[in-house]
Symmetry: C2
Subunit: 193 residues, 2 copies
């Protein structure tokens, strides 16, 4: 369960064995079966979560009951309702498993402890957040500047491994279009090749 995490970290940050052990010693392991929830809206998010293997999704439900996927989190991704985690307010989002999934979790306090204790881990985390913000900005740009087809093509290009792993209607949800539209875009694109 820790193996994917070790491999992931070793590529991102130089840690001593004792530092790695310290990080792992504070982790909680959890296994989720497909469709199982890690977080439900109105609950308070209390953990930072690393996906060891499998795939999660972060989504919200609007007033009409429709689901909108904010993010996919396959292995080696971090996921949480940051707003709830940081402020302690009830979450607006849900997190559930698209496949059987193993995760590692750290409570907010333990996670902050690790950042304080291990400077290189803090550096790593800072870069992670910075990257997340960049990715987020790029996605906003895509959303406001592209039509459905362009968004779809961009998604395939940016996240090929996610695209061929999750159902089409979830890609549609992530992009903010209906599944029917995405179906039509695909068949249309094939005819043009």
């Amino acid at each position: 369960m820790f193996e994917p995490f070790r491999k992931y970290l070793s590529e991102k940050v130089a840690l001593t064995d004792s530092q790695l052990q310290r990080i792992e010693s504070l982790a909680i392991t959890k296994h989720l079966r497909r469709k199982q929830f890690l977080l439900q809206e109105n609950d308070v998010s209390r953990h930072h979560t690393f996906v060891s293997n499998g795939c999660l999704r972060l989504f919200r439900i609007d007033l009409t009951g429709a689901e909108h996927i904010i993010k996919f989190a396959p292995e080696n991704w971090w996921v949480s309702d940051r707003e709830s985690l940081i402020t302690g307010q009830p979450a607006k989002s849900n997190i559930d498993a698209l496949e059987d999934t193993d995760v590692l979790q750290w409570t907010k306090d333990n996670f902050n402890r690790l950042l304080d204790e291990i400077p290189s881990y803090r550096d790593f985390h800072d870069k992670l957040i910075a990257r997340a913000l960049e990715a987020s900005t790029n996605r906003i740009y895509n959303n406001i500047s592209m039509n459905a087809q362009e968004k779809y093509e961009k998604f395939i290009k940016t996240y090929p491994s996610i695209f061929n792993r999750v159902p089409l209607h979830m890609v549609a949800s992530y992009l903010g279009v209906t599944r029917e539209t995405l179906t039509r875009i695909r068949t249309h694109a094939q005819n043009q090749d």
Copy 2:
């Protein structure tokens, strides 16, 4: 020129006089006239920028030449092309002034120095980034879940002070709709009241 920054900081973080002086001593002040550029795409972004007064916009230009506003930055906001600033790659974005504007700037190195020297300033900065990421996530959710009218209403509600300060066609650009659509939404909404 430093006064707005002092007032802003005093509400956000507890700093000693000498810490504040240290921060200000590394700042570069700059005045921009309306329409003047702070950053042009393909240049490398080298500074963190705080807006003391006035208003900037961060935008990109797509393949058809159309402008898409990623963010407005009125006084007390920070703005930069983070991707370029962090990676040193050429910027994909432009920043220019919507009004005559005063800014404070710190080079990447000096800014990092301050974060290292002043722990409370780092804490403040971490929170700032965390908030930015939350705001970004919420905007993505709005983009994928709302139609033009809902996005417009949400924008007015979230940023009333920006809404009644920038031209309508820029709000349209920020929301990812045409100015004509936004005009129609407004007149339609008035008829319903």
